[in-house]
């Protein structure tokens, strides 16, 4: 075993001088005085002085003082000196055959001279030892305040023990503050014993002692089985004093080997225990200090490792690599020997890692028990939550990987050391697993996004409509094949180009389409352009419809647009051809039809009464049908004009009630069998409208009411003022009503409600369409409210002309 030597720092203790107390001084003075008196007595300086026999007692004082200061040996020498004086006098007395009281006194003095050094010397050495011990105890403050180093404290303690008791060797067993293993301190040495291997040695015995123990028979035959002939110090006696924490837990051992006289006594044990009690506090503080330092350092290292782990885990989106990295970091952060991760992610993953070359074969069954425990208990966090997985492990720590709502699996770390994990390790591993859980979620999301992106790319590539994306500056970022075909690009050549220039527009304020698109890109707004022309590089002109939407509406600043383009060129051409055809047909048919109509009327007028009734009815049918065909053509022509914006709406102020009353009166004449009621305010209401258009709208609405309602039911035309802005002209009937689903469709071109009642009435499904177009052309709105079985109410809402005519005080009435 390598025993490193190292330098101990000086404790810089003050010199422990032997101070003379006042009582010591008095003893010395009295001793000196008594010695002088005794000498004076024997050399007869003072005649008659010897009458005072008691004065010889003073001769004992020097013996007492010498014994007190120099111990038994010194006292005996003093006793020999003074005892010889008394002996001479005794012999002299005996020779004179005067066995009197003087002889008794002298014998007593000689006896006392012999005994006193033994008693006083022993007493003195005991006092000295106690003083040494007290001195050692008094230096407690010094011990505590000067150092927090275990080496210094051990050195100090060994020094003090050597001062109060003579021993050959002193060992101090203390736990390593960090790893809690034993360390043995000697005066200038420190070693780390292998306790496991040395359990049958004196070392093992020392560690096993929990009470103060003295063995004075170490050399007893058969007690030690190994030879100690080659030892410098032959073990004879040993004293072991356990050191304890304040709470009574085991702190260490104080081992004294071979007392000077080979035999430790209970008094020695008491003295050393007194001193060790003082040292325990200092040792405890030093250990706590070291542990705190180490824990702080460990915490910083762990945090640094966790930070690095977080960085590396965040950098990867591959689940397999994430777990491999996690295993490495789990071993690094927890200082464990083994680590295993069992995780349910993209199929069950089981990964095991061990520190160093050791490889453990762990059966899946054991690991999957952990998963079962996770499922049953909702997690397996803490120390020893699972059975030990790796052979040779002593301590286990497991942590669940996942969130409260989703558990991926668990991690288990195990160590071959006892008490290898604590709350800090648990905290660090939990933090690391949180990072892993987050990274796994990110990996999961990334996979989903990648799949969705792939799907979206496939869709974009395959759709027939042109789709391009532009950034916030209007530069094309991507385009699908349809867009490249439409805009005459090839294989990504559109990317990076300015969209306005691709469309052949000018970036000037007077270019309406260009301005709208730039605004949309700049402010991230949606845009719909119905049919706009673009001018391509090849010189061709295309008509497109454009729909743009911001790529993300959540961002505070626009991030670009997704633009959908539809080629309208062919459709526009077809529409134009259709309109031209309808227009031509209408014009071409109207002239002959007008002629047929007028000729038929003329024939019918001239031949009225001369023709048989049968031919007369033929002529009437001819007139009415030609008239109806003419009306149909008018309406078709109106529709064409309205749709092609050729219908010239001439808005002008007109008195609404007056005009409506005229229209209603006309219909009262035409449909004399129907009751048509008019409700109109009794004050003038002026509106901006085209009189013909208004006429046409009301004609359509009243005609429909007449056609689709029973004859006995009335028709109501109601004019009302809504607020100060609008008037409404309602045509109410009490017919069968319009189903809810048809209410929006009845204003479409050629739509007719299915059903026997409706289908039995002649019509083309264009009247309400024309009415709606006219209403919208006049800035109004046409709507319907209907209920099955109760009737319908068609409402034409048109703005009220302000400042013309008198206004009602309370228009709502």
């Amino acid at each position: 075993m390598n025993w490193p030597l190292f330098e101990y720092p000086s404790l810089d203790r003050p010199e422990q001088t032997q101070r003379l107390r006042s009582i010591d001084t008095r003893i010395l003075v009295i001793s000196a005085a008594s010695s002088l008196l005794l000498v004076a007595l024997y050399i007869s300086i003072l005649p008659g002085f010897d009458r005072f026999g008691w004065i010889r007692l003073l001769g004992l004082l020097p013996i007492i003082s010498v014994s007190y200061f120099y111990g038994v040996e010194g006292g005996l020498l003093a006793a020999a000196f003074f005892g010889s004086i008394f002996s001479i006098q005794l012999i002299s007395t005996l020779l004179q055959k005067q066995p009197n009281a003087l002889a008794f006194e002298l014998v007593g003095l000689i006896m006392l001279s012999g005994i006193l050094p033994l008693l006083i010397g022993d007493f003195s050495s005991s006092i000295k030892q106690r003083r040494e011990l007290r001195s050692a105890l008094e230096s407690r403050e010094l011990l505590l305040s000067r150092t927090l180093s275990l080496e210094d404290i051990a050195y100090f303690l060994i020094e003090e023990i050597h001062r109060i008791i003579g021993v050959e060797k002193i060992y101090i067993f203390l736990p390593d503050p960090i790893f809690s293993r034993w360390e043995i301190y000697q005066k200038f040495q420190k070693m780390i014993p292998n306790v496991d291997q040395d359990s049958s040695t004196l070392l093992g015995w020392v560690i096993g002692q929990t009470q103060p123990t003295i063995i004075n028979d170490l050399s007893f035959p058969g007690l030690l089985t190994s030879s100690f002939e080659d030892l410098e110090i032959k073990p004879k006696s040993i004293m072991c004093i356990p050191l304890r924490w304040r709470d009574g837990e085991d702190l260490g051992r104080l081992v004294l080997v071979n007392k000077d006289n080979d035999f430790f006594t209970i008094e020695d044990q008491t003295r050393v225990t007194d001193l060790s009690n003082v040292a325990e506090t200092a040792i405890e503080q030093a250990i706590n200090h070291s542990r705190t330092d180490y824990n702080l350092e460990q915490r910083v290292q762990q945090l640094a490792s966790i930070q690095r782990a977080s960085r590396e885990l965040n950098a990867s989106l591959d689940a397999g690599r994430l777990i491999e990295k996690f295993l490495d970091f789990s071993l690094e952060i927890t200082h464990a020997d083994f680590s295993a991760v069992v995780i349910h992610f993209a199929g069950l993953i089981k990964t095991i890692r061990s520190r160093g070359p050791r490889t453990e074969q762990v059966t899946d069954a054991i690991l999957y028990k952990g998963i079962e425990a996770c499922i049953v208990q909702g997690g397996v966090s803490g120390l020893g939550s699972l059975p030990l997985i790796f052979s040779g492990s002593q301590t286990q720590l497991s942590v669940t990987i996942g969130r409260s709502d989703q558990i991926f699996g668990y991690v288990v770390v195990e160590s071959e050391s006892k008490n290898a994990f604590d709350i800090t390790t648990n905290w660090a591993l939990t933090l690391l697993t949180d990072h892993l859980a987050t990274s796994l979620e990110n990996a999961n999301l990334f996979q989903e996004i990648a799949q969705e992106k792939q799907q979206a790319a496939t869709i974009i590539q395959s759709i027939s409509n042109a789709l391009i994306t532009v950034d916030r500056t209007g530069i094309i970022v991507s385009s699908n094949p349809a867009a490249q075909k439409l805009l005459e690009g090839n294989n990504g050549s559109l990317n990076g180009r300015y969209i306005i220039s691709v469309f052949g527009w000018k970036s000037t304020p007077d270019d309406f389409n260009s301005r709208q698109l730039i605004d949309s890109i700049t402010y991230g707004q949606s845009l719909n352009l119905g049919s706009v022309k673009i001018y391509l590089k090849s010189g061709s002109i295309k008509s497109i419809s454009l729909s743009a939407a911001p790529m993300s509406s959540n961002f505070p600043e626009p991030t670009g647009l997704v633009i959908l383009l539809q080629d309208q060129t062919e459709k526009d051409d077809l529409t134009r051809l259709q309109n031209e055809l309808i227009s031509s047909m209408s014009h071409e048919m109207r002239t002959p039809l007008a002629k047929i109509n007028s000729i038929s009327e003329m024939i019918a007028g001239q031949l009225k009464g001369s023709l048989a009734e049968r031919y007369s009815s033929y002529l009437d049918t001819l007139v009415s049908e030609s008239q109806r065909l003419s009306n149909f053509l008018d309406r078709v022509l109106n529709i064409h004009q309205l749709e092609t914006k050729q219908f010239d709406v001439q808005l002008r102020p007109i008195p609404a009630c007056f005009v409506i009353k005229n229209i209603v009166d006309e219909w009262r004449l035409m449909a004399s069998t129907r009751e048509i009621q008019l409700f109109c305010p009794n004050y003038p209401l002026w509106i901006m409208a085209d009189e013909n258009g208004l006429h046409s709208i009301l004609d359509n609405l009243i005609e429909n009411a007449i056609k689709y309602t029973p004859k006995q039911t009335p028709i109501e035309v109601v004019v009302a003022v809504k607020g100060r802005e609008f008037i409404t002209i309602g045509v109410h009937d009490h017919g069968p009503g319009i189903p809810q689903e048809s209410q929006k469709l009845i204003f479409e071109r050629f739509y007719r409600i299915s059903g026997s009642d409706s289908q039995s009435v002649y019509g083309h499904g264009i009247g309400l369409y024309v009415a709606r177009m006219l209403a919208e052309a006049m800035g109004g709105k046409l709507s319907v409210e209907s209920e099955i079985g109760k009737g319908s109410r068609f409402i034409f809402k048109i703005p009220l002309l302000k400042g013309v005519g008198s206004e009602p005080k309370n228009p709502d009435n």
């Binding site: 040395d198 003295i214 028979d217 007690l223 080659d230």
Partner: protein
């Protein structure tokens, strides 16, 4: 190799406990034996019959009885302990017979023969050679029994000085005891040699080995009793045994009474020094001088 690396027997702690327990039990038995012997001796002394073998009885009690009691706990560590035991008993018994047979009072002839003087001088030599060899074989027991020579010169001088002081005081005191008068110190060297041989060869090693080497070690070291109770117990036992032996030997009662404080003082001094020095050198010297003086007075 360090001391801490020394291998222990597998039942180390149990063995130590057993040794201590055996020692305590043994001392208890020794105590009973000593008290019993003392009581028997005292009762025997009260019987008004002639006791021509009083000295022999005393010597026999010291050797082999007390000596064997003193070394009994150590014999069992020897490999051939039965043979050793028998051999020691034989040797110690022979020595005690020899001492008894060579008592100068038994010789009617005028001059004590030279061979007897030589034989008497041989008794301590043989005794200490045997003991030395015995404790050399078992050094651990030599250490426990204080047979090591520690601080030899100093202890010899100190022991001599203390012994002389005590003996001188004893001599002076008995001069003033009316019934004794001035003791007549025999000038015959044969008596001196006889006393030398019996004291140093039989009584002193037996007393010191039993009461200091064994008794004090067991009570103070193994049982870890404080000093004063140990002193009380040993001093009483020693006093009881010596008094019994002296009574049988026909020592006058006043002398016996005067002997008590001196014996107590010697026991105290010997125990103090044995505790401090862990050697029997000083106690043997002190005890020897006092025993010689006491024997001469008789």
């Amino acid at each position: 190799m360090d001391i801490l690396a020394l291998k222990l027997r597998s039942d180390f702690s149990q063995f130590l406990k057993q040794v201590k327990s055996d020692q305590v039990v043994y001392w208890r038995r020794v105590k009973h034996v000593l008290i019993s012997i003392s009581v028997v001796l005292i009762l025997f002394s009260l019987v008004p019959i002639q006791k021509p073998y009083g000295n022999w009885l005393g010597y026999f009690i010291y050797s082999p009885l007390v000596l064997i009691l003193a070394i009994q706990p150590t014999i069992h560590v020897l490999k051939r302990r039965r043979i050793a035991f028998i051999l020691l008993v034989v040797i110690f018994s022979l020595l005690s017979f020899m001492a008894s047979a060579l008592n100068p009072l038994l010789f009617t002839i005028e001059k004590y023969p030279t061979w007897a003087l030589v034989a008497m001088l041989l008794i301590p030599i043989i005794m200490w050679l045997v003991l030395s060899y015995y404790f050399m074989v078992i050094p651990s027991e030599a250490r426990r029994s204080g047979m090591g020579i520690r601080g030899g010169g100093f202890n010899l001088i100190l022991g001599f000085f203390i012994g002389c002081l005590i003996s001188g005081h004893f001599l002076f005191i008995i001069r003033y005891v009316p019934t004794l008068g001035y003791p007549k110190i025999p000038s015959d060297p044969s008596v001196l040699i006889y006393l030398f041989g019996t004291a140093l060869g039989l009584a002193i090693p037996a007393q010191e080995l039993l009461f200091r080497g064994t008794g004090f070690s067991i009570l103070h070291d193994s049982e870890q009793k404080p000093f004063l109770p140990v002193y009380r117990e040993i001093a009483l036992l020693e006093l009881l045994l010596i008094s019994g032996i002296l009574l049988v030997a026909g020592v006058p009662y006043p002398l016996l009474l005067i002997n008590i404080p001196y014996r107590l003082a010697i026991t105290f001094i010997n125990l103090v020094f044995f505790r401090r020095q862990r050697t029997l050198l000083l106690p043997i010297v002190v005890n020897f001088i006092y025993s010689m003086v006491f024997g001469l007075v008789l």
